[in-house]
């Protein structure tokens, strides 16, 4: 048995503001009232895992606002960040150097990985090759902070928190990169009306599908309060509590919609006008206070087809991951791959609508 002080880990030397361990969610226990939780932007987590050779659903660190600084207490630890976050490396005897996101980096014992501000989106993800040697709870490593459920006592990373590493599962390999950051698409957020659209006036449904909304200041992992035109119910806003999903848009008696995110309760008693389609959940999960959004209705069949196409796109992004290009020189193979990927992106967006691509990606110009 290795003494705990020698066990391979990342140690938090500065906690940042709100970093939690998340995987793709704790499904299967909602009948107990157990929220699903999980990554707000599952595309970001999946791509970060792909960059370090992990299965897509391996738990990583979801970082909001300002990231932590992590000291590497193991040899050759491969990490990757996906999302709009500055990062840098402090290595003994060297001046601090900025690191790129959307690629892997192999860190040495004693290195300090400093994760900075998350700007242009609500969250970014850090994945570590092999994942964390933490005990799953009810089959998941997702953290539900409100009830202290999940790894690390269900709390965000704190000063001195040790993140034990699963070295046995760490796939070996050279550092790799995504040719470009993921494109989350733009335009109106697509919804399927219901389950209780019949509880709203026809004018309210029209308003909901035509007006612009902004994310209000009450925005967290549980949901986004939306500022914009109020939506009138035909009668009471209250229904016998029924099931909620991530993406449910519930409207309490004051008529102000609330878009529920991953830490939503399993059931709720307000009428729900519409549900964000699963393909657009990563987009809304990345919204921060002040973010603008509008809604467009699609059918369930359309939503399912959009999601299947999106999965093909994500698979193409993962296939396009390539060894980090040496500095200088033209890499013909990489150019070819980029074109291929761009082609797939066009298919997904259908209309080449990349209106908000820069904002949605939060990519530095």
């Amino acid at each position: 048995m290795i003494a705990p002080s020698l066990a391979p880990c990342l140690t938090v030397v500065r906690p940042g503001l709100f970093a939690t361990i998340q995987d793709l969610g704790r499904f299967g226990h909602q009948e107990l009232g157990m929220p699903v939780a999980g990554a707000l932007d599952p595309i970001g987590l999946r791509l970060a895992n792909a960059l370090v050779g992990n299965p897509a659903g391996t738990a990583g660190v979801e970082i909001a606002l300002l990231g932590p600084a992590l000291k590497v207490e193991a040899d050759g630890v491969r990490v990757a960040v996906v999302g709009p976050m500055a990062l840098s490396l402090e290595r003994e005897g060297q001046s601090p150097q900025p690191l790129e996101s959307h690629r892997s980096h192999t860190l040495a014992r004693g290195d300090v990985l400093k994760l900075g501000a998350v700007t242009g989106a609500a969250v970014a993800y850090l994945a570590v090759a092999g994942g964390f040697a933490l005990e799953p709870f009810l089959g998941s490593l997702s953290t539900y902070v409100r009830a202290g459920i999940g790894p690390l006592g269900g709390k965000p990373l704190g000063d001195g928190t040790r993140l034990p590493l699963n070295r046995n599962d760490a796939p070996p390999g050279a550092d790799v990169e995504l040719p470009e950051p993921p494109d989350y698409g733009g335009g109106p957020v697509r919804v399927v009306l219901g389950p209780q659209e019949d509880r709203f006036t026809a004018a309210a449904v029209d308003t909901f599908l035509s007006a612009g909304y902004r994310v209000g200041k009450d925005a967290d992992r549980m949901g986004l309060r939306l500022d914009g035109p109020t939506l009138a119910h035909t009668g009471s806003a209250d229904i016998p509590s029924d099931g909620l999903v991530t993406g449910s848009i519930q409207v309490p008696g004051n008529g102000q919609p609330i878009l529920l995110l991953n830490d939503h309760q399993t059931a709720g008693g307000y009428a729900k006008i519409a549900t964000v389609i699963s393909a657009d959940l990563p987009r809304v999960g990345r919204l921060s206070p002040g973010g603008a959004l509008s809604f467009r209705a699609v059918t369930v069949e359309e939503a399912e087809a959009i999601r299947r196409r999106q999965e093909q796109t994500i698979a193409a992004w993962v296939r396009a991951i390539r060894p980090v290009r040496p500095a200088g020189g033209v890499d013909l193979e990489a150019l070819y791959t980029e074109n291929l990927v761009s082609g797939v992106v066009d298919i997904v967006n259908g209309n080449g609508d990349i209106l908000n691509q820069e904002q949605m990606c939060g990519r530095a110009p």
């Binding site: 499904f27 299967g28 226990h29 909602q30 009948e31 107990l32 009232g33 157990m34 929220p35 709870f137 009810l138 409100r146 009830a147 459920i149 919804v191 399927v192 009306l193 219901g194 389950p195 209780q196 016998p240 509590s241 029924d242 099931g243 909620l244 999903v245 993406g247 449910s248 309760q265 399993t266 059931a267 709720g268 729900k272 549900t275 964000v276 389609i277 699963s278 369930v300 069949e301 939503a303 399912e304 999601r307 299947r308 999965e311």
Partner: protein
């Protein structure tokens, strides 16, 4: 009997059996929940029972609404039989005004003595309609009609864990410290949620509950046992 399907995006839909909160409607929800659990059609993620509807969650990559709804309709054709009776629990409650700060005011507003309110609350076998709000939060009914009172107009910011409470025709035990708008009439000393148990949530939808009054000394003793991790929740199971 008619059921209504309502849509919750491309990952879930609801099977609605009625509009109200009543046992026959909920029994149909629980019967379908049990049948789908054992049938486990491909791509089904989970089903979530609520008062009058079952939420069916599926993976749109593995299956489709059309396929899952067809599987649900096939099960509905056989789901008339009553679901198996759930476990019966005897939960201790200390109805001390210090532990149930609304006891005096609530009984006065209902025109009852506190003693009568306590007797009525303990007179009924309750049914767990559903869980929600927080992990392990059980919506139980039906409260005797004499005790019916809507939620407080001003919810509390902090309700202590273990608080036994009523609202409308429902009663509950708060498993966690949380905000809450129900009337607090007592406190249960044993945890309804314990993450160290293999099954962390004590009560399941479909279970039955009887409340048994205990005095303050017994409450304190049970609280101490629970805090020390020495309380075996299986002792609360009523023998049939």
């Amino acid at each position: 009997m008619d059921v209504r399907f309502t849509t919750a995006g491309d990952t879930a839909f609801n099977v609605e059996f009625g509009e109200g909160i009543d046992r026959p409607t909920n029994a149909r929800v629980m019967a379908l929940h049990a049948r789908l659990k054992s049938a486990a059609p491909p791509g089904l993620v989970e089903t979530v029972p609520t008062f009058r509807s079952l939420q069916v969650v599926y993976d749109p990559i593995a299956t489709s609404r059309r396929e899952v709804q067809a599987a649900v309709e096939a099960e509905l054709a056989h789901a008339d039989e009553a679901p198996a009776a759930g476990a019966l629990w005897r939960l201790p409650v200390c109805y001390d005004p210090d532990l149930g700060p609304d006891l005096v005011e609530l009984s006065a507003s209902l025109g009852l003595s506190a003693e009568r309110l306590i007797a009525l609350h303990g007179s009924t076998e309750y049914f767990v309609y559903m869980l929600g709000f927080m992990p392990g939060f059980a919506y139980m009914g039906d409260l005797p009609a004499e005790l019916e009172k809507p939620r407080r107009s001003e919810p509390r910011v902090r309700v202590p864990a273990g608080s036994v409470a009523t609202a409308g025709r429902l009663t509950t035990v708060y498993p966690w410290e949380s905000p809450g708008g129900w009337h607090l009439i007592g406190r249960c000393p044993v945890p309804l949620y314990d993450g160290s148990r293999p099954s962390p949530v004590l009560l399941a939808a479909g279970d039955r509950v009887r409340f048994e009054a205990v005095d303050r000394a017994r409450f304190d003793a049970l609280s101490a046992e629970a805090a020390a991790g020495r309380f075996d929740p299986d002792t609360l199971r009523a023998t049939p």
